[in-house]
Symmetry: C3
Subunit: 171 residues, 3 copies
């Protein structure tokens, strides 16, 4: 077991970093957008065989999560997001007159959106082995729109070793 601990150990191949900024227009106030194939595409095109893909949102009222893309479940998730940070709760942030800093021109009462984003998280790191994201059968990567409809950006970075054929070492 000791000698066989790591399935893959890769040394001395070409180290690469590839990045992309994905822009999309969300369609609902609260929406789960499945980015899995889009992220997979970036990993494949990067040529990275062993490494990491880090995905993060560039907004404070969206989240980045991994779970199952089952429509009834996503509908349950929307209920829970409302339960965890209700839209109707009182938010000081929604009192635009009271703010110390300049309010963006397209600002709306969205304290609940920020609280939900805080809870769900904004970045996910996933391992790449043999050129594929090491996701389980039911795992899908979602951007969660919490204050739509808006134009949104997601940052994707792939880094690791681009192994030429025959360079892989098994030990």
């Amino acid at each position: 077991m000791a000698l066989n601990l790591f399935v893959n150990e890769t040394v001395g191949s070409t180290f690469k970093v590839c990045s992309d900024l994905v822009q999309l227009l969300t369609e609902e106030r609260l929406q789960f957008i499945d980015l899995t194939e889009l992220v997979r595409e970036r990993v494949r095109r990067s040529g990275v065989a062993h490494g990491l893909v880090n995905v993060h949102t560039k907004h404070t009222t969206t989240a980045l999560v991994v779970n199952e893309n089952e429509p009834l479940l996503l509908s349950d998730f929307k209920d829970f997001v409302e339960r965890w940070a209700p839209r109707s709760a009182p938010y000081r942030h929604n009192d635009l007159q009271a703010r110390r800093f300049q309010v963006p021109p397209d600002e709306r009462p969205n304290g609940h959106s920020h609280a939900r984003a805080l809870l769900l998280g904004m970045s996910v790191g996933l391992n790449i082995t043999d050129g594929e994201i090491d996701l389980g059968e039911f795992q899908r990567i979602f951007l969660v729109e919490l204050d739509g409809v808006r134009k949104r950006s997601v940052s994707i970075l792939v880094l690791g070793l681009a192994v030429e054929s025959g360079e892989d070492r098994e030990r």
Copy 2:
């Protein structure tokens, strides 16, 4: 201060990526499984001195978290997980007849497990310095089983520089 900002800066040594898939059988419906020593072992065997270890679960009803391994506290955490997403809440996902996609043969009513997983998160990135994970005194890495008993897989990837002795630079 300016010149001494980084304790470690390492350039030009061997860059390595090591990955492992850890499989385990969970024992309880809701269980915190301490993976710290297992992850530490992978980091040591990788030979990576300065870099990152990324750990993520491969399931949508488990979570990956870092906190203290104090039995009373883990018992408190179980209460909170039940409070945040009660098992008895109504879940559309639990209506197997209503689902649009094929239901896995071992499926059980587990909407609450998914909601808990969404909340707790599925990946953790930890820094490696001088060959050790930069964990604090009380920090332990846990796989959280939220829909046990099941066979589970955790993906571990270590990447960074494997410094030969004497290669380290302090500046």
Copy 3:
């Protein structure tokens, strides 16, 4: 589109890993401490142009999050943190006599602090492109003190390619 998918693809430059341990004394029981400029400074000094910065706390009663630094919003966040894991809830962890392991000398009843930390998460991975963290306009990096006042440590690791001028490839 196919050829132009990645804005940046960088190969064969110098791979670097830089790490730093930031120590700070928190000032409130529940406090959001904006670390953005401090992390940006580490990224700039690292010289890494394309890569990743991973930031994590070294404590089990603090969290690491990204959201907006708007004072009224941070005040809302404090209310929600209290709502999600009330200080007044019963915590077995607070029964110091019942604990199986030795209790740290400076221990206080802080079950709620741990539960809050579990919920908010302890690490954030952010992409670096063209030498800058790829943060959105309103995104700021916070250490969240959940059991202050205490001395705290945050681990920062920057890894990636340090591109010399003229080495960048666009394709």
